[in-house]
Symmetry: none
């Protein structure tokens, strides 16, 4: 079933609020086999709400409203939905009685505007709200279903889970959304798409999305299955991706790179020491984000100044004078030096020009060297990173982790 979510409330259109109800609803709806294809956030404007519902009825099987069911003048969902469906609002005597009881039990007298909460769209089933005063509604209009839910998250979740979800499950049958995920490193988004598109276009039943971030590219596959059917396409496509770009995939479990690398270090009984110049702590922060990283992380040096490179990492001053602090030679010397100082089995270093200042025609902003040292020698790599200062630093951090992963893969066979 194709679903869409409409959140009502001008307070959701300010710079500091976002609609979190829809995240909860999306998860529950996906699990129930419904595909959320649209979300709208609309203010307390009756014509806008009506128009959006009219559109939604044309394209979606299941339409969920959240919010706008309260007692105040700007709670317009009930009357706007009634308008779009061309049905009257009627006061429900049972609901009115119950509302009065709820107020009395809390020692309040019900004010007249609260009576609006007892208004029901003709033909709607009432969805009881045990957590608050505004009940939800379930309305069937030809082959479409419209569900009205209260806005406060606890009320919405209680009404949805107890009264809406069981009915949706009955309608959606056995259909479920299954997913597969791949985190990828070491390729650009377009290189990756060029390799994968010829494969995934042959599986039209599976939806493939490719999303590039600073840290990695994530590829996700989505497929609707019915009692397991459809899962074969998903598994087949996933294993063809594995064949094609296997080594570039670092996780199929949504694990961040630092976790994958941490597990490899532990399994291979290696220990790590780092020296970071331009990132000055970012790599260490990521490595130690993983609980238990003290098992393999010996420590690091934020060698931001030349003095720190020389005094703490043992880089010969002449090397910096001759090649510059951002160079292959200094990257390797930093890796070797910090490895020795902290008595680790592997030393990893980053030195680069994060910008905005400090670039030259020969060594532009974004130029970054990664150095690596183990017992048998030293290696280096370099790349020119795009973006601003923070983005150069992030990309450098992930390049270093990514390269360490490749190194460990080779050494672990």
């Amino acid at each position: 079933m194709k679903a869409e979510i409409i959140a009502v409330g001008s307070e959701l259109l300010t710079p500091d609020s976002s609609d979190t109800n829809s995240l909860y609803l999306t998860q529950k709806l996906n699990e129930a086999g419904c595909d959320v294809q649209l979300k709208t956030i609309v203010g307390d404007v009756r014509e806008d709400i009506e128009e959006i519902l009219r559109q939604a009825l044309r394209r979606s099987d299941l339409i969920l409203f959240s919010g706008g069911l309260g007692p105040t003048m700007d709670d317009l969902t009930r009357s706007a939905v009634a308008g779009a469906l061309d049905r009257p609002l009627i006061k429900d005597p049972g609901l009115l009685e119950e509302l009065r009881r709820k107020f009395a039990s809390r020692g309040f007298i019900m004010s007249p505007n609260n009576e609006r909460q007892a208004e029901v769209i003709l033909g709607a089933d009432i969805l009881e709200n045990r957590m608050g005063t505004a009940p939800g509604m379930w309305i069937e209009e030809k082959d479409r279903i419209v569900i009205l839910l209260p806005g406060p998250p606890r009320e919405l979740q209680s009404v949805f889970e107890n009264h809406a979800l069981p009915r949706i499950l009955k309608k959606s049958g056995e259909t479920r959304l299954e997913t597969r995920s791949f985190f990828i490193t070491g390729m650009t988004e377009s290189e990756l798409d060029a390799q994968l598109a010829p494969i995934y276009t042959a599986y039209p039943r599976v939806r493939t999305t490719i999303l590039a971030g600073t840290r990695h590219i994530s590829v996700r596959l989505y497929c609707w299955t019915q009692q397991g059917s459809g899962r074969r396409d998903l598994d087949e496509l996933a294993s063809r991706f594995q064949e094609k770009i296997g080594p570039a995939i670092f996780s199929t479990q949504d694990e961040p790179m630092e976790e994958v690398v941490g597990r490899m270090l532990r399994e291979s009984r290696n220990t790590l020491a780092i020296a970071e110049s331009c990132t000055a702590g970012m790599l260490g922060m990521h490595v130690t984000r993983v609980p238990g990283s003290s098992d393999y992380f010996m420590g690091g040096i934020e060698c931001y100044s030349d003095a720190a490179k020389i005094d703490l990492c043992g880089v010969p001053p002449g090397l910096i004078r001759q090649h510059g602090a951002v160079s292959a030679q200094v990257a390797e010397a930093l890796a070797a030096g910090v490895r020795e100082k902290l008595r680790a089995s592997i030393g990893l270093s980053i030195t680069g020009i994060a910008g905005p200042g400090g670039g030259s025609p020969e060594k532009p902003v974004g130029l970054v060297y990664i150095g690596l040292a183990d017992g048998s020698g030293t290696l280096n790599r370099h790349r020119i990173m795009p973006g601003d200062r923070e983005s150069v630093r992030e990309r450098s951090t992930y390049l270093a982790l990514s390269w360490l992963r490749r190194f460990l893969m080779k050494n672990m066979g």
Copy 2:
């Protein structure tokens, strides 16, 4: 002007993603006097995108798209907008050339699918994207304006701020949303509200919001003004806040703490060296986020292991045995040690238990010591931080910076 925002991308319709671009855009649009009345999130479905734009053109003056401008098959914004506006897409030779140059400068060869990023809707003005490859577009359709922005937040913000916002401001006339901002440290949210509420309730025309984050509390004042009217209330309220809680306010310019502290270090001609155990790089990363921080930051040591504390920071092994690595004594020894090693005027240290493991009844998870050393001696402070591992580390980082600020304030008179 009535504005609406349309975010394109199926990845924004999963249970764990929300559209953060629209929060940024809403703030900027409000400041420019535009009222955001609708937001839509739509998947990579061409007909849906077209239909939503057709609706939007009926009700809104300004329509902003984010995302869907990349090189892959599922990047549909360009062609859907062209379809809804009934205009052709044409390949722009200048853009194509520029794209080739961008790829070449990073040592990549452009794959054919990237050429789609050089396609322009007939009659659109190109909005340059310095942070990435997909440019934005500005299209006028009768009295409506349609703006296409790239999805990655840094690219969106750069294109919007440099090329779209100046043109919107020209169109939107004299109404502005004016704001004042205060970043506050060293108080809880409720302490702060207890002090400020008696003041701000006397200014009903100004909206006051208080938002507590891990890093600091931010207080914002908002007021709609027309040619300056209303600004007096805003200024009066702001100066009464200054009187009441002055020293707790570290910025009225939305500067992060590391920038404020950096300026104070530079002005007082101090230099800084740091030793971080549980944060292992996070403090250094923040300090060096500020361009030019090499003027005062000498470097740091991620002393995650005891060996690193002893060998690199010169902490006597007996001190760790006697008091534990998380103690006032070790915090002070770390600060003094790193100050000396890196020949800085101030040493700052963090040692604590970030969790989830490693706590004890005496020293629970969240216990953090900050050490500070200058030429005349050493000091320490401790606190028990709430929250998970990452949150303990962030709070510790900001406590260290915040305490350094207070120290510099005292010493600078």
